[in-house]
């Protein structure tokens, strides 16, 4: 049975001016790519991916946007959050183990990739690309708790790493085709750019996508993606490239809280 757990915030880590990472006790059976529904009983209930999983703790890295995330940013260690989950399919860590991987993250989409890298660290060859608007927006600059074969970053203004996008980093990756899988998470327009770039390479890829979420248990239909109707909360949030190519809504529109289609 799905239960909401009252968990105290164990620590709050300021990543940069727009992002904070919150840690709570790990009482869950959770894997990277899955997400939780979190409420404060004041500003709604919202989905957040895990950005780190240790035996003791689970982390969420949150971008400040509207009322819920602003309320969360005011919270301190010891304050309670009410959490249900984990939900969604998560990454297929068994499949990815032993493989050569390229993880491509943008914005707070880098969070779930951090949890993946740390989770399979030592079991796969992990190359990591991190993208953001500027150095100030880049997440996890202090490094990941994982063995990375390589790490590179891209910023729009060139204040860290190369000046450009994660795609520019991909273009400069000499042996792109030697990777077994690409795993990517971030703003949908970035995911589209990755998809388009990979089109001719034949490299299989996994994409973590977001849609407006309400029940998170697959009954309300709010996060279904056209035309297949697959639910981000059950069949997702991680979709492989083949399935994604049949989701014609991807990169074109998404539904808001009323179900109205909003173009990107």
């Amino acid at each position: 049975m799905d239960k909401r757990f009252a968990l105290e915030i164990e620590s709050v880590n300021i990543e940069n001016s727009g992002h904070k990472t919150f840690e709570v006790k790990n009482i869950f059976d959770v894997k990277p790519g899955q997400f939780f529904m979190i409420t404060d009983y004041k500003n709604g209930e919202k989905p957040f991916s895990v950005s780190r999983i240790t035996k003791e703790r689970v982390s969420f890295t949150v971008k400040k946007l509207g009322s819920f995330t602003s309320g969360l940013f005011d919270m301190k260690p010891g304050d309670a959050l009410y959490i249900r989950g984990p939900y969604g399919n998560g990454f297929d860590c068994e499949l990815l183990a032993g493989k050569k991987l390229l993880l491509v993250g943008g914005g707070c989409g880098t969070g779930p990739l951090r949890s993946l890298a740390e989770y399979i660290s030592g079991k796969a060859e992990i190359n990591f690309i991190n993208g953001a608007r500027s150095k100030e927006d880049l997440l996890f600059e202090k490094g990941l708790d994982a063995n990375l074969a390589s790490y590179s970053c891209a910023t729009d203004d060139g204040s860290a790493g190369i000046k450009g996008t994660v795609i520019d980093v991909c273009k400069n990756t000499v042996d792109l085709k030697s990777h077994d899988y690409i795993v990517t998470s971030g703003p949908e327009m970035m995911l589209c750019a990755v998809r388009d770039y990979l089109k001719d390479t034949g490299i299989p890829a996994f994409y973590l996508i977001e849609r407006y979420m309400k029940c998170a248990v697959g009954i309300c239909g709010q996060c279904s993606v056209d035309p297949l109707g697959v639910r981000v909360c059950v069949e997702g949030p991680v979709f492989d490239g083949d399935l994604l190519s049949r989701l014609t809504e991807f990169g074109v529109y998404k539904r808001d809280a009323s179900g109205t289609c909003r173009e990107f």
Partner: protein, 306 residues
Amino acid sequence: MEKSKKLSVKFLNCKSDSPLVLPAGIMDVSYGSMLFAVQNGAGFVTMKSCTLEPRSGHAGPVVCEIEGAMINAMGLCNPGIEKGLEEIEKFKKESDVPVISSVFGANRDEFVKLSNYVNDSSADYIELNLSCPNVSSEFGTPLSASKEMVADIVGAVKKNSRLPVLAKLSPNTHDVTGIARAAENAGADGLVMINTLGPGMVIDINARRPVISAKFGGISGPAVKPVAVKLVYQVTEAVGIPVIGMGGVTTGSDAIEMIMAGASLVGVGTAVYYRGIEVFNRINSEIVEYLDKVGLDSVTGIKRID
């Protein structure tokens, strides 16, 4: 999946290959999600109840699971009737499965306006949601609590409607049979029941707060089934129009029980949570297994008990 011919049914003007209905509010905000239910064995689909204007619905939490049941107060989120009907058009391009267009109005005039929109669409039925329990702070007691109101609205819609009119009834009144009769007398072609039970309330004892943001929510899922079965049984004794029975149906046996109570079609909603989207195909096969066991060659051979 190829369905057994034994599951073929006719409901009013339409035929389908399964008696299972995707009810209003379950996986049906978009044409894609309705197609997903059909892909997985649903014989009829209902589009989320639409209002004249779009509604974002209540803030979360909007659902809460309890032992044997689910409580929800989505708050009638929907893209508005015009956009909602576009979803039905897109659905119809891909599938010939019959579609029920559910609408919710604050009063008779709104229901009539809504039904005029539905008249011009490819929907096969119009369903009047007279029974949403989750917006009463805004709209007052659900309309199906009053015989006069039900008769007034059904009658007014019926006058204009090119499509069969189904009235969706609430279990939360003392005289469901009287209300069902009032709907029939006003011209309803069929009934859909039950909408969610209650509403109920769950308190998070750690937070000292109601779990559901709207405080109260309608109850669905296995625990409400005995209430649904009883009301469908009583209503089908009292009226001659067909009833789509729903409320807690989770297995083939539950569906057969609902048919034995008098239902012509069976809605499967919250069970999508318990048994996955495959639930429609699974219940279809379970019904066929039963038919084979008792030697019936059609689901329509299962008769209402006395």
